[in-house]
């Protein structure tokens, strides 16, 4: 009995030792050198693995940060400038500062403004609905409201508003990773410069049809009248294919365009209430 146990132990120890020796030499022979800094950098990154940087996860991005000479194309939108500076310090490099951005939904076709002319009962994803037809409201550019963007968001930063049937972005949570931009088959969502107090001015429509056609389907469509283009003092507005676009970098948030828009397609968000004519007159007198 004892002998069996002793033989077993000796055999197993023998096999174990032999395997260890073989493994040691194999490991030496096929050793892959990996920069230890990659681990450090990965540790310092947010670890969301969202792909917002354009790489397949944080590990791949960390590798690129360590290996690439130039950091011009490397930016983690989730961590932001602060995080990038930290990583740069780790590696002794210089981070490229980028203005923080936020996702903006450029459609306001609520049932009130864009009457539903038909009903869709196919597979409930925007990608499929977009392929099949123009949409319940008849606008071929408008939001389909089936929430592909909500599914795509890793940060719980975009939600459907059941009252409007449109997605809404939670600015504080949005990291501008661009997943929703990618997911939207109609390219309605755009990453725009983040302003102070989350203020925003943008054309809330992407319909490129002629004004008369666009307004037929949706009362708040951009009709390409160019009034905003004429009034903008900073050349921030461009007109293309019957559609106005406000450059978020050139825009100085003066709000002149908002007032002249005949269809209320230009939205101002998070601004204090406007001065009425009365208060303006009073101020004028005080001067």
């Amino acid at each position: 009995m004892n002998q069996i146990i002793i033989v077993t132990i000796i055999t197993l120890v023998g096999i174990g030792t032999a395997a260890a020796v073989i493994l040691y030499f194999v490991a030496q022979r096929f050793k892959v050198y990996e920069d230890p800094r990659i681990d450090e950098v990965e540790e310092a990154l947010p670890g969301a693995n969202c792909g917002g940087c354009g790489y397949a996860g944080c590990r791949a991005f960390a590798e690129a940060l360590v290996k690439n000479e130039s950091w011009d194309d490397l930016y983690c939108p989730v961590g932001g400038n602060e995080n990038m500076a930290k990583v740069a310090e780790l590696l002794g490099k210089e981070a490229v500062e980028q203005a923080p951005q936020v996702a903006v939904v450029r459609c306001y076709g609520t049932p009130e403004f864009r009457a539903r002319t038909n009903e869709y009962d196919g597979a409930p994803t925007c990608a499929i609905a977009h392929q099949l037809y123009a949409g319940e409201g008849g606008c071929p550019h408008g939001c389909l409201g089936l929430g592909d963007c909500v599914v795509a968001c890793d940060f719980d930063a975009i939600h459907m508003n059941p009252a409007t049937g449109l997605p809404e972005v939670v600015d504080d949570k949005c990291t501008a990773c661009g997943a929703c931009v990618e997911a939207c088959p109609r390219d309605i969502i755009e990453l725009r410069k983040k302003n102070k107090k989350d203020r925003k001015i943008f054309v809330c429509c992407i319909n490129e049809e002629k004004g008369a056609v666009a307004i037929k389907n949706c009362k708040v469509a951009c009709i390409g009248c160019s009034k905003c283009y004429d009034v903008c003092p900073y050349d921030a507005i461009t007109m293309n294919n019957n559609l106005a676009y406000i450059d978020p970098v050139k825009c100085k948030l003066c709000r002149k365009c908002v007032v002249v828009c005949p269809t209320n397609a230009i939205h101002e968000i998070n601004f204090p209430p406007r001065k009425t004519e009365k208060t303006e007159a009073v101020e004028e007198e005080n001067k």
Binding site: N118, D121, G122, A123, Q131, Y133, A134, G135, P140
Partner: protein, 447 residues
């Protein structure tokens, strides 16, 4: 008596309720509506180029848009009157496409068109001239795929057509336009088949008809007696009207994956296409009208109409007794492959084989539940694919894998969605995958 076993295709297939409500109804000529809208992209391929302007007077049969390249077709005015707009109009999906709007005034035809009812039996043109006539007349596959007919008539180098197969299957439930055509225009069809045989340079032709149309089978058998055309009755099974399924059913030849019937020496035309070819070659009449079935369980008069291209769908429904109160969907095409219309103002185009009104009860979708791995979709797929797997792959955006699973072979017949006990929208996802895979293939070619 020993019962004869009818031929059919071997793999997959379903048998939905036939509901051929308008069978036996005569084809009724529908007078044009006041305004017609003729889209410039009614075929598979490059959109045609408009050659008329606003304010131009046009006659019936006058060319209004010219083919752009080889895989494209001519488009003609289907009415006489004044061009009131060349603009974008919503198509059946609601997306806007370029179209020519004509305000109807009288019914003045181009002089060269033979409008008499006499049958012209003598085929005086040779193969090259026949092809030319078909190009000029803007003929496309009228079964619904709208592939330009002259492209199919041009046999690629290194290949040889041996058989012409004429598709009188009409396997879609509800539709009866091909049936009506075979009953009423059988002699013209015979000449049409002979024209196509001459154009292709083949000696043999087979006309396939499903056995639920015994009157059409006996009529066509009678009229083709003593010719090289044989008429074959087929067991009723959907989607037998698919080219590849029909080739398999009639000749027991299998079209290779990614290939065309010509790869096994066969060319397939729909009876509607053959009839249009007869009119183009013998009567010099371009494709300006087609037979459309307008049907539905609650419609007053399910009918077969001869309709000018560009007539609004609402006009057809009006003529068939008006829109019933209980209508949930109006389908462009048959109920299996057709698509619901987003609006009734869209025009009839070359590919509109039917307008089917679906009631609330029929349209009701059951709740989608999980796949229970019953493999019914695999059993019914006529192309031997695995639809449940395709849907999972499409949901996970694994499009490369979908390509290796041969998603591009899918003919979009919808048998999988029809049969799924969990009511999963299989075809919707497969279509999405097909589009994405097609994009992948294109981008690879571009590199």
């Amino acid at each position: 008596m020993r019962s004869m076993k009818l031929k059919t295709f071997s793999m997959g297939g379903v048998h939905p309720p036939e509901n051929k409500l308008s069978a036996g109804r005569e084809i009724r000529e529908l007078s044009p509506s006041d305004v017609v809208v003729i889209p410039v992209s009614q075929h598979l391929g490059t959109p045609s180029k408009v050659i008329v302007e606003r304010g131009d007077q046009v006659k019936v049969g006058q060319l209004i848009a010219r083919a752009e390249g080889f895989v494209s077709t001519n488009i003609h005015a289907s009415v006489s009157g004044k061009v009131s707009k060349v603009d974008i109009f919503p198509d059946s999906s609601g997306y806007r496409r370029l179209a020519v709007q004509i305000k109807v005034n009288g019914d003045e035809w181009v002089e060269t068109i033979d409008r008499s009812g006499t049958l012209v039996k003598e085929i005086s043109l040779d193969a090259e001239e026949i092809r030319k006539r078909i190009v000029e007349a803007g003929i496309v596959g009228l079964g619904g795929a709208t592939f330009p007919t002259h492209v199919k008539l041009t046999t690629p180098r290194g290949k040889k057509a041996e058989y012409l197969i004429v598709n009188g299957v009409e396997c879609e439930p509800y539709l009866t336009s091909d049936h009506a055509l075979m009953m009423e225009r059988s002699s013209a069809l015979l000449v049409g088949i002979q024209i196509m045989m001459k154009g292709l340079g083949v000696e043999k032709a087979i006309l396939g008809i499903e056995s639920n149309k015994p009157d059409a089978i006996s009529r066509m058998q009678e009229i083709t007696r003593g010719t090289a055309i044989s008429v074959q009755g087929l067991k009723v099974k959907y989607p037998q009207g698919g080219e590849k399924q029909l080739v398999k059913a009639l000749l027991n030849r299998e079209v290779p994956s990614g290939g065309l019937p010509i790869d096994v020496g066969v060319v397939v035309f729909n009876v509607g296409t053959v009839h249009a070819a007869y009119e183009a070659v013998q009567k010099n009449k371009p494709l300006i009208e087609r037979v459309v079935t307008v049907t539905g369980k609650y419609l007053k008069q399910p009918s077969n109409f001869r309709v000018r291209i560009g007539t609004p769908v609402s006009h057809l429904i009006e003529q068939a007794g008006g829109l019933p109160e209980d209508t949930a969907k109006v389908i462009n095409g048959g109920p299996m492959m057709g698509k619901a219309l987003a609006s009734l103002d869209v025009p009839v185009v070359k590919g509109t084989s039917g307008i089917v009104l679906i009631s609330n009860e029929e349209a009701r979708r059951k709740a989608v539940i999980q796949c229970i791995r019953c493999t019914r979709c695999v059993q019914v797929c006529p192309m031997g694919l695995e639809p449940y797997l395709m849907m999972n792959l499409a949901e996970k955006e694994m499009f490369e894998r979908m390509e290796t699973e041969r998603v591009l072979d899918c003919i979009e017949c919808g048998s999988c969605s029809y049969t799924c006990p969990s009511s999963r929208p299989l075809l919707d996802y497969i279509r999405l995958g097909k589009a994405e895979v097609a994009k992948l293939v294109r981008s690879r070619k571009a590199v």
